[in-house]
């Protein structure tokens, strides 16, 4: 196991940021911690990277204890915090050289590992980091987190605020890094990114809701799920809320995801109910659950 977390809890005054969290990440896995802002993701990152002590529980990273062996962990892991934390007034190349030097290595020694990523920003190597675009900052931060060839890479919300093109490129980079036997522990509030991980933990309010593969998470959804649409979206939400066979009804893009509270549910009954309530262009059809459906079902 690359990362082992056992019964970790952490409170800030009255607020319980992490409540008895346990998880394990095998070596070489791409593991996703998926949850909204305030779920406790960053607190767990800070504990695992030895920047914060837990109130209870134990954890180890590549066999090192997060409390006793904190110095060894710091030499073994790469950490890219959520907030851009490179030196804004150093250039791209100066930042990279600085981080290499701190870890007692050189850019040249580990260039192979970062080449794919760094070539994309190398044309701007003399530009100050503060003047880079969001996508370029993200690539530089990843290069700096990798330059000492870490065994485990911690990425706290690397794609927040980044456009879809850069997000896609970023996940492709992670997949290639994984081939180099680096364990990657990544967090995101975006459920669609969860599908790209080997295993994911759904986290909210400091508690882990479930750990499984993305497919397993979807398959665990306990109801049939239907997409429903009519011309009047707002009225549709309200009417579904009042419908006697509704377990849940949540907007999902242009459709409402509707789950019935009985296995005897028939789509024609719902269509009939909506017609009686003066809806037009009614669509009702069965669909498969997404990770977000499961997340909501579990956190409800």
């Amino acid at each position: 196991m690359s990362i082992i977390v056992k019964n970790i809890s952490k409170s800030y005054k009255q607020v319980k940021a992490l409540d008895n969290i346990s998880l394990e990440v095998p070596s070489g896995e791409l593991f996703g911690l998926i949850g909204p802002d305030g779920a406790g993701k960053t607190t767990l990152f800070r504990i695992l990277t030895t920047l914060l002590l837990p109130n209870e529980g134990t954890a180890s990273v590549t066999g090192y204890d997060i409390v006793k062996d904190y110095k060894s962990i710091r030499n073994t892991v790469g950490y890219m915090p959520g907030r851009f934390s490179l030196y804004q007034d150093l250039t791209v190349e100066e930042n990279l050289r600085f981080f290499a030097t701190i870890f007692g290595t050189t850019i040249e020694e580990n260039y192979d590992l970062i080449r794919d990523i760094y070539v994309q920003i190398e044309p701007f190597k003399n530009r100050r980091a503060g003047r880079l675009s969001g996508g370029m900052k993200q690539k530089l931060a990843l290069s700096c987190a990798l330059i000492h060839k870490p065994k485990v890479l911690f990425l706290d919300e690397p794609t927040t605020g980044v456009d879809p093109v850069s997000r896609k490129e970023f996940w492709e980079m992670l997949k290639r890094l994984q081939e180099q036997q680096i364990t990657i522990f990544v967090s995101t509030p975006y459920m669609d990114e969860a599908a790209l991980c080997d295993n994911i933990a759904l986290i909210t309010n400091g508690k882990i809701l479930r750990i499984d593969t993305p497919e397993g998470i979807k398959a665990s959804f306990p109801h049939k799920i239907y997409k429903v649409k009519s011309t009047k979206t707002f009225k549709l939400i309200q009417d579904l809320g009042a419908y006697e066979q509704t377990h849940s009804a949540y907007p999902f893009g242009e459709y409402i995801h509707f789950t019935p509270n009985t296995t005897a549910f028939r789509t024609q009954d719902l269509t009939h109910f909506l017609k009686e309530n003066h809806h037009t262009n009614i669509e009702v059809f069965e669909t498969g659950p997404t990770i977000e459906d499961t997340f909501m079902e579990l956190s409800d």
Binding site: P36, S133, D163, P164, V165, S166, K168, Y190, I237, S299
Partner: protein
Amino acid sequence: MNTKNAIQVENLTKTFGAFTAVNNISFHVGKGEVFGFLGANGAGKTTAMKMLIGILKPSSGNALVANFDIATQADSVKKSIGYMSQRFSLYNDLTIKENITFFGGIYGLNKADIKTKTHALIDDLGLHDEANKLVGALPLGWKQKVAFSVSLLHDPQIIFLDEPTGGVDPITRRQFWEMIYREADKGKTIFVTTHYMDEAEYCNRVSIMVEGKIEALDTPKNLKTTYNADSMDQVFLKLARNLA
């Protein structure tokens, strides 16, 4: 121009020196429509939106927002719109009540109106226990719901939302979109910029900006058909970089 539209944009252009940030864009947004305004980082979204909310003058072209000309009637534009962004929306070190009073004052509401609206807003959101708490202590999702309600205080015809639900938990996010649909149902127009494609799927129509131009504009469903894609994410990738 068609006065049935909440927003009518004709050949709008903005240049900064030799750089054309917004390149001759034209589109309209109907009253009561939920319109998504998408684009990659640096595509020109923010520049275009700044012009539409009356804080940046266009280099050429024109636009009517709530039937006011953005170049010559910018003050009237500002009074007719609400604005909410993920980055800045409320003062963290004021309470919910204080924020409402403050923004009510900014929007020119009188004391009696502010009092009525404060009660209504707090009732609506069920925030009686939190009304005197600092906004900074609220979970992000609640903050965003309060911010949206505050942007409606002066009864604007059009509400501009800049990435309204980024990072918000999935259930609160749905409640937020229900509030948006409620306002659209009342005839308010909603203009949303985002680069999260699942947010785009909630819109009646979306436009996608690439390098200063609007490259596509249609319903999410039609865009997916046109670009032979399963999701808006794929549509976006195909347009923005011929990927996917």
